[in-house]
């Protein structure tokens, strides 16, 4: 790579090379293969641009030199153009249940005689459960809303999803689920970040929205810009005592040129991208504190608010392809019954409001929602009225085109692993691969290196 031509000096990547696991046998994340995949995808997609082809062919180095030439204004216009280029593109929304949701008490295996023995302290009484006709399962009483979606055929549910030999640590399991790589990896990019690197572009940060305040590691890309927005009406550049964010940004916009070093370029690129998001959200900001009410009220909780905000962003047609949210509090080591019921109520009611909102906006055929957690919990409850870290988590795939039903094998409560956990019947990477290929139209191996050929019947 000619340094002068690209402006991206090789030395810039030396530390990563030093730590060096890019080419490691454990985690063969092949940057070149990803870039080749991006080029192929770009060529297939309509409206291929020279910029895209260049980036696909040359990878990171060209991408980072090409970007600074585009000013904030240019970036904004390119983003708008991109957003309008494919108004029917499919969207994936990930909801992470933070802490390890107790799948066994979410979709209760009432047909399994061991349930009452193992859950003597926090088993849910039969009378309260919401049974599924013709299945040995029943929904938690808080999941009435999800049950209605399930009965309408819009929920594919998967018990016992995890990875082989799960290590039961939040820390490690979160990293594995977020990166899509089981094992330590120097490449921290998230599986949806790499997806956006493949199908996205270098101009529109709103193609991937981390609904929150910090960047969700799932959306960590290698080059594509992504956005972090909780409330689009509140995404500003506020300085105390400065009456208008636009005034504050004026000198900022003017200070984004003349960089030579990769460090300065990266700082300018980040500002350009953040300011571009601000510009793109102007329309939603103009709605003020009283945007149109959704058809079904969302719970007054960060998950409910986040989904409501996200529906507004999707409704504005800003080119979003993936978005992520999370709901905290699922690490229920003690006093689980009350807490878990409250969490699931918020989750279920949020999902119902979300689906209704998408319907009303004419988006529900384009959006698929993936609900997951880093692990399930121990089959037997503990002395504190809770459950400890387990394996085999519950996953739900929700949408008009979800293949409703129980779509993976439940291993039962009789044969547990050595630590008393559910046996893992389904690898989460098979789930991801199915979502990538079956919903996003992305070759799974380009995002999940070394993934095997197993796929699940998730869509229709």
């Amino acid at each position: 790579m000619d340094e002068r031509r690209t402006g991206c000096a090789d030395w810039h990547h030396s530390r990563r090379e030093l730590v060096g696991r890019m080419a490691d046998t454990i985690v063969p994340l092949d940057g070149a293969a990803l870039d080749a995949g991006a080029a192929a995808l770009a060529a297939e997609s309509r409206g291929i641009t020279r910029r895209k082809a260049l980036i696909g062919a040359g990878g990171l180095a060209i991408a980072c030199s090409a970007l600074p030439k585009l000013g904030v204004r240019g970036m904004f216009e390119a983003a708008q153009a991109q957003a309008q280029s494919d108004p029917n593109a499919r969207i994936l929304v990930s909801i992470y249940l933070d802490g390890g949701n107790d799948g066994i008490n979410t979709l209760v295996p009432i047909g399994d005689a061991r349930y009452r023995q193992l859950r003597s302290r926090i088993g849910i009484p039969d009378a309260d459960l919401l049974p599924i006709a013709g299945q040995p399962f029943a929904w938690h009483p808080s999941m009435a809303g999800v049950k209605a979606l399930y009965d309408a055929g819009k929920v594919a549910v998967l018990p016992a999803v995890d990875y082989a030999n799960p290590d039961l640590s939040h820390f490690n399991s979160q990293i594995f689920w977020r990166t899509g790589v089981v094992g330590q990896s120097a490449d921290r990019s998230g599986w949806l970040g790499r997806t956006i690197d493949l199908i996205g572009n270098t101009e529109n940060p709103l193609q991937a929205v981390s609904v929150g305040w910090g960047l969700d590691p799932i959306l960590l890309t290698r080059r594509a810009p992504v956005a972090t927005v909780f409330d689009p009406g509140d995404f500003g550049f506020w300085i105390p005592g400065v009456w208008q964010d636009d005034a504050a940004l004026r000198p900022y916009r003017a200070a984004l040129s003349g960089a030579r070093s990769p460090a300065r370029k990266s700082a300018q690129r980040a500002y350009r991208s953040a300011i571009s998001v601000f510009d793109q959200l102007a329309g939603l900001r103009a709605e003020g504190d009283t945007p149109p009410a959704p058809p079904v009220a969302y719970p007054d909780d960060n998950l409910g608010k986040g989904l409501r905000n996200l529906a507004r962003i999707l409704g504005a047609g800003l080119g979003t392809r993936v978005a992520t949210l999370h709901q905290s509090g699922y690490d229920t080591h003690d006093q689980q019954s009350t807490e878990h019921a409250e969490l699931l109520k918020v989750l279920s009611d949020s999902l119902v409001a979300w689906q209704a909102d998408l319907d009303a906006r004419g988006l529900s055929d384009r959006v698929m929602t993936l609900v997951w957690s880093e692990f399930g919990r121990r089959a037997e409850d503990n002395d504190s009225g809770g459950t400890d870290h387990g394996a085999g988590g519950l996953v739900m795939v929700i949408g008009n085109h979800a293949n409703g039903g129980v779509q993976s094998e439940f291993p039962g409560l009789t044969n547990l692993d050595g630590e008393g956990n559910l046996l893992v019947t389904t690898e989460f990477r098979s789930l991801y691969a199915t979502v990538l290929e079956g919903w996003m139209g992305v070759p799974a191996a380009a995002v999940l290196p070394g993934v095997d050929g197993r796929r699940l019947p998730l869509f229709r």
């Binding site: 030093l18 504050a248 000198p251 700082a267």
Partner: protein, 446 residues
């Protein structure tokens, strides 16, 4: 606060000192730049390497919401505690190397879940930060936060846990696939068995019954190796010194390490029996560190950015917001994202992180309390910029930024002659100028 360069102080010498203190510390205090710039850079480096006197600057510990920082009981205060050390520290290189070693021996309280163990680890790292790497690595082996983080506690000879053994070779001493085999990891894991932790009593210990005292073969050598032997074997491995020296170099500059310099570092490191100071001395006096002083080439890590902002404006950690601000910037000390530590340099920059950096400056502007009516219409654009530079520690800015600031200083108050306009817009101009100096793209790099 006098920040204009005295005529006798060379501008280049000032830039050199500023860069050194951003890379080897958390930014020079505005009041010390000129005095440092009058010394040869070698002597400044020497004084960084041989810190004397109290660890913290004089004066009372800052209060957050009226209370002392309480890292053990208040949410987010562990992060504030670290930031406060960086802001008030009198031994910048020691504090900065403590941060670098925390990245190298990355241990997260997300898994450890015990702030006391984390702060103990901080103190252990700090005590060895400029000592020998061998001393540091042996201390990390015995560090309880580390033992818990990499599952060394309760690794039993019947089922040795390989986590620590793997990272010891992969990350701490040799580098990935750099001179060892999977068998070395398994054998090392056997030697590392026997440490215990009792969840009930919270006590750490060592149980000889659980330790595999048998013969192991590691790197082709055979012996009844124990845990300390494994660390020594790794440090004495021929691939270790180049790996570590190159990694240390990478913390201070993104430029490539010249092979001759690497050889010099390796020789100094081995010759001194793993002393860290001789290596740092070579790096910190190297021309590559001071190349192109008019074009900063490294992104400031969030903690350096935050602490530097406070130091340059003469402030201290007085609000809790730093905890979430640093989180949103992507660097909460005590919570590295994985065993590999933080991705450095340009990886710090994202749409989200830059907004958090912007918000941090907004918080500082709020603290500065520039009231409406406090500035008159007589303040010329040039004077306004001069005042803003003085209030923000006279940071480096590019010609583009200077031009943008001057244009803004002129246009933002043009035609604002009504009394109410003067009252608001002249202070508003000052707020925006300072903000851009604190958080603009140029402020992100050193």
């Amino acid at each position: 606060m006098s920040t204009r360069p005295a005529p006798t102080v060379d501008r280049v010498a000032r830039l050199r000192v500023e860069r050194l203190y951003w890379r080897a510390g958390f930014g020079a205090l505005p009041g010390e730049v000129n005095a440092l710039a009058r010394q040869p850079i070698g002597r400044v480096v020497q004084s960084l390497l041989t810190p004397r006197g109290a660890q913290l600057r004089r004066g009372p510990a800052p209060k957050v919401d009226g209370q002392p920082i309480d890292p053990f009981n208040e949410w987010g205060h562990d992060v504030l505690w670290w930031l406060d050390r960086a802001v008030r520290g009198r031994h910048p290189l020691v504090e900065r190397m403590t941060l670098n070693w925390h990245d190298h021996f990355a241990t997260s309280n997300s898994k450890v879940s015990d702030a006391k163990l984390m702060l103990t680890q901080y103190r252990t790292i700090r005590a060895h930060a400029l000592g020998t790497f061998r001393g540091l690595a042996q201390a990390m082996l015995r560090d309880h936060a580390m033992q818990r983080f990499l599952d060394l506690d309760n690794s039993h000879k019947r089922a040795p846990n390989e986590n620590f053994a793997r990272e010891l070779l992969e990350l701490f001493t040799l580098g990935v696939n750099n001179g060892y085999t999977e068998r070395d990891i398994r054998e090392a894991a056997r030697a590392l068995t026997g440490f215990t932790f009792d969840w009930e009593t919270k006590r750490f210990g060592f149980d000889p019954e659980r330790h595999d005292a048998g013969v192991k073969v590691i790197f082709g050598r055979r012996g009844n190796f124990d845990a300390a032997d494994v660390v020594d074997l790794a440090i004495n491995h021929p691939r270790h010194a180049p790996y570590l020296c190159k990694k240390l170099w990478g913390y201070f500059t993104p430029r490539p390490c010249p092979p001759a310099t690497l050889r010099r570092m390796v020789s100094a490191y081995r010759g001194s029996k793993t002393q860290i100071k001789p290596v740092l001395s070579i790096i910190l006096t190297h021309p590559a560190l001071y190349a192109d002083l008019g074009e900063p080439d490294q992104v400031k890590p969030p903690i350096v950015y935050a602490a530097g902002m406070l130091r340059k404006t003469g402030r201290f950690v007085t609000f809790r917001d730093w905890s979430w601000l640093l989180d949103d910037m992507g660097q909460r000390p005590f919570y590295p994202p994985n065993v590999n530590g933080w991705d450095q340099d340009t990886a710090w920059m994202s749409t989200a992180s830059v907004r958090a950096r912007y918000s941090a400056a907004s918080r500082i502007i709020k603290e500065m309390n520039i009231e409406d009516g406090s500035l008159s219409a007589n303040q010329t654009p040039a004077k306004a910029l001069e005042a803003a530079l003085a209030a923000t520690g006279d940071p480096w800015i590019s010609p583009q930024t200077r031009a943008a600031l001057m244009r803004y200083a002129r246009t933002s108050v043009a035609g604002r002659t009504e009394k109410w306009e003067v009252k608001h817009y002249f202070p508003e101009r000052q707020r925006v100028l300072r903000h851009l100096l604190l958080a603009g793209p140029d402020a992100q790099v050193s």
